[in-house]
């Protein structure tokens, strides 16, 4: 079992709401950044999602794994992921973003927008 070496950013929903930020958990595991507990990724919070992640992204991260198992999404959320991918690649050309365990509606959204050909999607 891999040990999580560092947890440098963890905000729970109440705190995030108070700060007007997206609710999610960000954990660092070596060169991988794990993002989970995302309740919503949509037009309403896409910008703050990216702001939080860009602030939390260390220079030597090579993988960003985003767990979408509890996430509701719309096109605004798709746009936020596209923006994140562009931003991350400007920081580090080799960075890879994976989407994990998306729900059926989210999977359908990615199929419709053909974003499933842009982002690798895995079920763990």
């Amino acid at each position: 079992m891999r040990a999580r070496v560092q947890s440098f950013f963890q905000r729970k929903s109440a705190a995030a709401k108070a700060a007007g930020k997206s609710e999610m958990t960000i954990l660092r595991d070596g060169e991988t950044l794990n993002i989970s507990d995302i309740r919503e990724l949509a037009a309403v919070n896409g910008k703050s999602f990216n702001l939080q992640l860009s602030a939390a992204l260390p220079a030597n991260v090579r993988h960003i794994d985003i767990d979408l198992s509890e996430t509701r999404m719309d096109c605004g959320g798709v746009g936020a992921l596209v923006a994140l991918r562009k931003w991350a690649r400007r920081q580090n050309r080799d960075v890879a973003i994976r989407l994990l365990n998306p729900t059926h509606p989210v999977r359908r959204l990615f199929n419709l927008t053909r974003m499933d050909q842009v982002f690798p999607i895995e079920h763990k």
């Binding site: 096109c75 596209v82 419709l112």
Partner: protein, 668 residues
Amino acid sequence: MTCSSGATCRLTLPSRLESIRDAARTARQFLAEQNLPEQDLTACELALVEACNNAVAYSDPHKPDSEIQIELRCETNAIEIHVIDHGPGFDWPDEAELPDESEEHGRRLFIIQSLMQETFYLRGLSQNRLVMRMARHSDAQRINFPDTNVEIPGVRVSSPAAMSPCEESSEPYENAAGTKVAAGEDARTPADEQAPPPQLAAVQQKLALSEHVIGTMAKEICFRSEELAAIFRSTSELGRANDIETFSDRLLNDLLHLANADWFVLRLLPKDSRKLILSNASQSDLALCPIELREDHAAQSAEAQAALSRGNVSFHPQRPLHPKDALAIAHPGSSGLVRPILMGQTLLGTLTVGRQSSQPPFSAEHVQVVHTFSEFLAIQIINIRLQQEHLDHRLTTRELDIARNIQQSLLPKSFPKLVGYGLSGFCRNARQVGGDFFNVLPLSEDKVLLVVADVMGKGVPAALFAATLHTLIRTMAEWTHRPVELLERVNRLIYDELSGVDMFITAQVVLADTRKRRLIVANAGHCPLLVTGRDHTIRAISPEGMPLGILPDVTFEHAVVPMSDCTAAILYTDGLTEARNAHGEFYGQERLFNWLKQNQSPLQTAAGLSEGLLAEVKSFQGQVSLSDDQTFLVLAEEIQVPSADEQFEPEAQSIVHFPARAASAAQV
């Protein structure tokens, strides 16, 4: 947010992104109660969320308290979702496309159209309504809901086309529990007990509603009739106005009045240009530089942005123009709208309409009238351009007719006398004017210079060089009669002009000397001279020589043919041998040789040969139109001395023959 449950659900929410999630959740719950399968629930929820996101994105920034209404209707075999907003609206595409994968925005309408089977966007004066319909997936999941529904009688909507802009006036009211429900539903509270009896209240509501409907309709009819009157006025102006500036002046001043605007700027994009040019402006002394349509200009110019995006660009004090934008400099602090003028996807220009800073920005109905006028303007711009093109075409045709007459006048009107020989020529252009010509220059009573030339290409450029060469050869013939020297001098004189435009000329010059009984032939890359011998042979005489205009200094070879050996000589251009038939085959030199063999005779005159050859080539070509100019010149031995009174009538398709046909016929 308000909700009425049952077969129809109505929701009202503030026009803010934060409200959409809760509304979508309620809508999903309502649809789930109607036994919709999970697949349909997901589709409806996502389409609704995207429609609401869109309504918020296009909401009026000056009305922060505006609301969005949602209606969900479960019919027996379909779900219908209406999203009503009160913003200025936008143009709904027939078929939305996905943007590039690197784009962060622009997927909403594609998603909605992908998920729903039918979508309509109704843009009204005070509201816009997006209607989305989807068939229910399973018959087993249909439900029979009661006829009594919670909507107010008289405003029940059965199809999108029947919807009135006022049907939303059934304002919801708040019940004791704090939940808003649609009016007409049974949600009476103690506070209602002093209200009028239900029947009376229903009548009052109905009356108020009717009054509101009539008021809105009257307002809309007045507005539209003014709009139509302005368009009719401009239509009557169109017949008199020959230019866009005059026409647009009237139309756009009407638009200022209707849209309650203060100024306009009309820019047009000339054909095959990438620059928007100022065409007309309400401020007559306004001087605006052309705008080049480049992506990097879009940030600084709202007009360039609208032109490149093919979409409206609005500006107001909260979203001002770029300080360097020419519109901002001309009308500082204004609010307004830049509308691209389009015919299909073809950009014709931009129309900007603005208000001074002291006035509120445009409302939805004013934006709509700008749209209507810009569409009308687009039609008239195309009409005026077509009129102009037609006029230009007529002028060009007339000029080409004149050019053709001039070119025909350069051909010899009659041939000089040449004892014992007859001459005949033919020249036909593929277009009105061409690059082929022939000439016969008399040098003395027993010497003539025969010239045939072919300028590369066709049409006006070739004709200009043909005319120049014609003059040069006539001038040079005053200095020398030797074909080789004549071609060398002409080449030196015309080289600069020809090489400057990458053109060249092939030519053949033959000196016919009946006293010395010889032909001296020089050739500048031209087809060979064909000579028919008394022994029934055909010879092709082609001394070395480069076309004119290839090199500045060239030397030419010459060949001498004794006239005693031949009965006829034919000079021609490749348009003759390269004539095609319906199967695409060339006439070719072989067919020409065979024809000459079969038709040569000591009794054959030049005119007879010409007419026969022309008939032969025409018969080969059939109905196929000419692809290249055709020219030939025939010198043939004739026993009888002709009378030279006949004059040549210049026509595009004429045989110039000498002696006269009557004399030829007498010989035969």
